[in-house]
Symmetry: C2
Subunit: 281 residues, 2 copies
């Protein structure tokens, strides 16, 4: 048993303090996986385990993961866990994992790598996330993307981190299942996609845009999603090949319901891309 | 100016204490609208204002809403606001509003009422939410439903409250734009829908179900959505006219990404219902 001030538990400190966690995780190159299922998916994707913090009742079911970790396994009671992390950890087990260097965007678009390491074909359907702020939204969008046949994700330089605890948790580990990279350069970011042969579709709530279901597709398609408040930047909207929308109900527009949240829009758009690729039987 | 212990501010106490808020709001028949946009939508939907708590900088822009409220308007500084509510209120203005008695399910299905009070046609497209736990999910689903042409929502007896602060906020006020009611009886709840002529489609992650895009529709359709963890109860799944699914990518299933979150699934399903109703131009 440990007490909360044990320095070996520093990886797990104050998990709800976003600013502290951002700098701590960047400095040490780590991220946190929460709950048995997500921990297993991180391990299966090849991320090395730094340490595990868990309560007694999870020791047996995670025995294979804990094997060989020696004194990097920390079994504590609920009260100590809450004291270290700053909140009641319902899932009872946390692992700190080593981050890997993200591949360059070009490498992701060429399809040569996936988080697990095995070779993959060049992606034909890609999401591009511009400056999303909310980690939960990023996680939910990765889950949609992975479930609905999107093959890679590209992040703008300022988009929220997919390996932040809440993103990992909301994604149910889908952030490990889908290759992603981060642009160095926001301003010229779309040029690289176009050079790689992607048709860029900019999703907008503007109802004068072409409905996604009717948009001309291409062999390679990149769907651009904007931030929660303001949507896509005017630069990306202007630079994209085509603005597309999810049509709203006319009655909704009359009642002032004029947009979907970004996760709902992303879900509908990913489903639409998959359906266009593989028409109904 | 007030201090945090002023009893006239009791409506706004401890907004992050879910259990306390549930009992306080039930006892006093109130709910909380947060931020100018949502407050305005609640007022426009005809809910009477009990009191408003806001910081100085919101007084001008909300002047018309505050008019006539007299000493039920409480202007405080940020620190007092945080002390009362228990968190930093970024949107700077909170209104406590009077709840109205919910109409019976039969009345909603007959289309005789909407929150604003004006008569509406009988709904043809209805969502039925079974035991959703998360207020944010309920709010997000109302927003999708309102944006995508769903005309009414029916809640199971234990489904989370759409007028809880977080649901209202995430819905961006869509909980005021769409009529809803709560079943008295979970066990026999679907019988009432069927008696009203609704074809009941049960959304399930089970990939052997009929894809929603291919399901036979009806003049009236009720789409059933289950709770976050377990999905629909076996009773409702069994009793529904047809189980339907959102098809996943085969690659996702291989990688263990086997479901969408309930908001993403709801968004895709509402969009699918609307598209089936009004085929692409």
């Amino acid at each position: 048993m440990h007490d909360a001030s044990d320095p070996r538990l520093a990886d797990f400190a104050d998990l709800r303090d976003v600013e502290l966690r951002k700098s701590l995780e960047a400095e040490h190159g780590l991220f946190i996986a929460e709950g048995e299922k997500v921990i297993r998916r991180a391990v299966a994707a090849g991320y090395p385990v730094r340490a595990v913090l868990l309560t007694r009742r999870w020791v047996d079911s995670l025995a294979d993961v804990l094997e060989g970790l020696g004194d990097r396994v920390h079994v504590v009671d609920d009260a100590v866990m809450e004291k270290i992390t700053g909140f009641p950890v319902h899932r009872g087990a946390l692992a700190s994992m080593e981050r890997r260097a993200l591949p360059p965007v070009a490498e992701i678009l060429a399809g040569s790598r996936r988080p697990g390491g095995e070779p993959v074909a060049a992606p034909r359907r890609v999401l591009v996330l511009e400056d999303l702020v909310d980690h939960g939204n990023v996680g939910a969008i990765f889950r949609c993307a992975a479930a609905l046949g999107v093959e890679a994700v590209v992040l703008s330089p300022r988009c929220a981190d997919p390996l932040y605890r809440r993103a990992v948790k909301v994604s149910m580990g889908a952030v490990f299942a889908i290759p992603y990279a981060r642009m160095d350069d926001w301003y010229g970011g779309l040029a690289e996609l176009r050079a790689a042969g992607f048709r860029t579709l900019a999703l907008t709530p503007d109802q004068s845009a072409v409905p996604l279901d009717e948009a001309e597709m291409g062999e390679r398609v990149a769907l651009l999603l904007g931030s929660e408040g303001d949507g896509l930047s005017s630069r990306w909207l202007r630079e994209a090949d085509l603005p597309v929308c999810v049509p709203m109900s006319p009655a909704a527009l009359e009642r002032g319901v004029d947009s979907l949240n970004v996760v709902a829009a992303a879900a509908i758009a990913c489903h639409g891309l998959m359906r266009r690729d593989r028409p109904a039987r």
